[in-house]
Amino acid sequence: MNPAKVLQKEEIAPGIFLMNLETPRVAAKAQAGQFFVLRVDDKGERIPLTIADFNRKEGQIVTVFQVVGRTTAKLADLKVGDELATLVGPLGKPTEISQFGFTVLIGGGVGVAALYPILREFKKAGNFTYTIQGARSKEFLIWEEKLLAYSDKLILTTDDGSKGRKGVVTDPLKEVLEKEKVDLVFAVGPSMMMKFVSEITREYGVKTVVSLNPIMVDATGMCGACRVEVGGKTYFGCVDGPDFDGHQVNWELLLARQRMYCDEEEIARKNNA
C-alpha cells in the first residue's frame, strides 16, 4: 500500500503550512519540479500540490501550501499521525536541469517552496543562481534561509516594503537583465507574476521556463481539465508539464481556466462556514 501519513505540520507564515508526509514510493522517485495529487478524505477533491523537498532514505516528502479553498483548509486541519485518503505521485515531468550559465530563479508567494528543489539542482549543476523572492509583506517571505543556501545572490521584494525592496519581482529582474548576460530565467508563483516575468524577458530575448498550475482531476493525462495553450498548441499541464516556455504560454486562457470554478468555491466556502 501507499501510506500517506502526516509526520509534521507547521504554520510557517500566516495561512501557509508546511507538511512532512511519509510516502516512501513517492519519495523514492521524486525529482525537482514534480508534484503530487492528494485527497484529504473520502468526500474530498483531488488537488495537485508541489513537492517542495524529499528525503528518499526516510521515505518522506515535504509540501508547502496556502489555505485558499476547502481542500487546503481541510488539509491544514489534519493532525500529526493522520492519514490522507489519497496521495499519488510523483507526477509531471521533472524540471530540465543542465549547466545553463547565469540563471535567474524567481519565486512568488508560496511558489518559493516549489522553486527550492529546482534552485538546489540548478546550483549543483554548476549554474550561477540569482534568486528573486517576492511576497506581499515580510511575514509571507518563507524559506529565505533555504534559498540563501543555494543562491549566489538572493534579492527579496515585498509589496509594502516591510522587508527587502519595496515592489514586485519584476523590478530586480529588469535590472539584472540590463546588467548581466542572463542565460535562463525560471519562474514559479502566481500565474499573473509568471505572465509579467515572461513579458519582460521576452523583450530581452532570454529563455524563460515557468511552472504552471492549472486545475487538474486525475493528473495522469486522462481528462484534459488542465489544458494549456503553448505556442498555439494544446497541451495537458499534468503530463506535458508542469514546465513550459513562458514566452509561448497563452496566459489569458490559463487565467480564465483557473477561474472556472469561482462560483462553486464560493458555495463551498459558505457551506463550510
Partner: protein, 454 residues
C-alpha cells in the same frame, strides 16, 4: 412470445435522479423468461459471448428456479456477471445468435445474467476453492474490465495477483466513466470485493510509469505483467475556441460526476458545471452517458450532435432509446466547426450540416460537409465525446514495447507484447471498444500468462 419486459423508472422521474434506470427482473419474471429458451443443442448464443459463458446451462438452472446455481455456473467463466448483465451490448453478441430471433425476440440473456448475479451479491458470494498457492506473482496494471478479468482468472488458478490502479478506486472505466444510473458503483465494488476474496490484492494510487516502472515491478519479484491501461486519453476536435470554459472532455465531465461524485456537490468537494443548454459531441455510449448525465444535473436542453446518422451510431440500442425517452435531442449529420465565447466562457457553437458520401475504411458512409449550411446553437456547456486514444504516460517509457501505427500496444493473438513476460489487452490494444471485448481479451491473456509461467 416477446421478451418479458423489465420494469424501469419512468423517464420523467429518472431524469431527476442518478438511480439505476432498470429495476431488472424479479425472480418470477426471470423464471418466465428462462422458459422461453429453446435449449438448442448447438447453443449458437455461446459463439457471441467473448468470455464463453455456458448460456443454455445457466438459463436451464433458472428455469428450475436454481437461481444461485445459475450464478455459480456463470462464475465458472465470468467473474463480473452483474457488470456484464448491465453493460454488455447483448444485441450484437449472445442475443444476436439466439435461435428465437428468427421467430420473435431473442431470449433476454443479459437481464437473466444480471438477475442471478445480483441475487448472489445479495445472498453472499460462494468463494471457489483455490488450488495450491503458486509462487509466481503476477502484476496487473489497471483495474478496469481487462485487468479485473485477468486478475480473477489467475487468482482462481492459484497465482498471487496484485492489481496496480492509478486512481483512488478500483474499476477503471466502470467507476470513472459509466454513470451510476447505468451501473451502480456498489455493484462494481461488490464484484471487485469478490476478486479480493479470491486473493487478489489491489494497490490504489499507484501510477505505473511514474510511481513505479515496469522494471521496478520485475525487481519486486513479479514474474509476469499484464497491461490493461485502457485508452485513457481524451481526443479533442482541434477547432477554434475548444479550450473555452464550459467545454469538457467526456472523460473529465464523467470522472467529476461519477468517480468524484460531483452530482452531490457541495456534500462532496468536487464541483462540476451544470449547464442549462448543453451540446454533447459524438454518437457512442460515452456520448449518451454524458448527455443523460447533463440532463440529470438539471440541463433544460441537451443536444446530441453526431456527424453521421442514427444508423451509424455505435451506441447500444437500449441506451439510445433511453436517451430519446429522456428528451435528449438528436442532431444528426451535424459537425461543430468552432466555438465562440464571451469573457472566457463558451456561448455559441457553430456547426455545419453533413451528408453521407462514399463508404470509408470502416465501411460506413463518410459524412461530408454541405457547403453553406452553417448554423449556430446557443450553448453554455459542451462535452466532447468523440473517442479516446492511447495514453502515452506509461507505454512511451517502456524500452522494447512495440506499438502499432495508432499508438496502441502491439500484441499477438494471445495478448503477448514484444517485451518478455509482458502481456496486454483491452482498449490499450484495440482502441476504444466495449467492456466485454476487454474482458474477452483478458481471458485469453490470462491463459497465455498461465502457459508462459508453467
Amino acid at each position: 412470445m416477446p421478451k418479458i419486459k423489465a420494469q424501469e423508472q419512468l423517464p420523467k422521474e429518472r431524469i431527476h435522479n442518478f438511480n439505476e434506470v432498470s429495476f431488472g427482473y424479479t425472480l418470477e419474471e426471470g423464471q418466465k423468461e428462462a422458459e422461453r429458451c429453446l435449449q438448442c443443442k448447438r447453443a449458437p448464443c455461446r459463439q457471441g459471448c467473448p468470455v464463453g459463458i455456458d448460456i443454455p446451462a445457466f438459463i436451464a438452472l433458472i428455469k428450475e428456479t436454481k437461481f444461485l446455481e445459475a450464478a455459480w455456473k456463470i462464475k465458472e467463466t465470468n467473474s463480473l456477471p452483474a457488470i456484464c448483465g448491465r453493460v454488455c451490448p447483448q444485441e450484437i453478441q449472445c442475443e444476436k445468435f439466439c435461435t428465437l430471433r428468427h421467430k420473435d425476440e431473442p431470449v433476454a440473456i443479459g437481464r437473466l445474467e444480471r438477475l442471478v448475479a445480483d441475487l448472489e451479491i445479495e445472498k453472499g458470494f460462494k468463494i471457489p476453492e483455490v488450488r495450491k498457492k503458486l509462487k509466481t506473482p503476477v502484476a496487473v496494471v489497471g483495474s478496469g474490465p481487462a485487468g479485473l478479468t485477468v486478475a480473477g482468472d489467475l487468482a482462481r488458478r492459484g497465482y498471487p495477483v496484485v492489481i496496480f490502479e492509478a486512481l483512488h478506486q478500483a474499476g477503471g472505466v466502470l467507476v470513472y466513466g459509466i454513470p451510476e444510473f447505468r451501473l451502480p458503483k456498489k455493484i462494481v465494488q461488490a464484484e471487485v470485493s469478490y476478486l479480493e476474496s479470491l486473493g487478489v490484492s489491489i494497490e490504489l494510487n499507484t501510477v505505473i510509469g511514474q510511481t513505479l516502472s515496469l522494471d521496478d515491478l520485475f525487481k519486486e519479484g513479479f514474474k509476469s505483467i499484464f497491461l490493461g491501461l485502457g485508452a485513457g486519453a481524451p481526443v479533442f476536435m482541434k477547432i477554434e475556441g475548444e479550450n473555452l470554459n464550459g467545454i469538457y472532455s467526456a472523460n473529465e465531465f464523467l470522472t467529476r460526476v461519477n468517480l468524484m461524485r460531483a452530482y452531490l456537490f457541495p456534500e462532496y468537494d468536487t464541483p462540476v458545471k451544470r449547464g442549462k443548454r448543453v451540446a454533447v459531441i459524438g454518437g457512442g455510449n460515452v456520448a449518451l452517458d454524458a448527455a443523460r448525465t447533463a440532463l440529470r444535473l438539471g440541463a433544460e436542453k441537451v443536444y446530441l450532435v453526431y456527424r453521421r446518422t442514427e444508423a451509424e451510431m455505435p451506441a447500444r440500442q437500449e441506451e439510445y432509446e433511453h436517451a430519446k425517452e429522456e428528451g435528449v435531442e438528436m442532431l444528426f449529420l451535424t459537425l461543430p466547426v468552432k466555438f465562440e465565447g464571451k469573457d472566457g466562457w463558451v456561448e455559441k457553437m457553430v456547426c455545419i450540416k453533413m451528408e453521407l458520401g462514399e463508404p470509408d475504411e470502416t465501411g460506413r458512409r463518410r459524412p461530408v460537409p454541405v457547403p453553406g449550411s452553417e448554423f449556430s446553437l446557443d450553448v453554455d456547456q459542451v462535452i466532447i465525446a468523440i473517442g479516446t486514444r492511447a495514453n502515452p504516460l506509461l507505454i512511451s517509457r517502456v524500452p522494447g514495447l512495440r506499438l502499432n501505427e495508432r499508438g496502441y500496444i502491439k500484441v499477438n493473438e494471445r495478448g503477448r507484447t514484444s517485451k518478455k513476460g509482458v502481456f496486454a489487452g483491452g482498449d490499450i490494444v484495440t482502441g476504444s471498444a466495449t467492456v466485454i471485448s476487454a474482458m474477452g481479451m483478458g481471458k485469453v491473456a490470462a491463459q497465455a500468462i498461465h502457459d508462459y509461467l508453467s
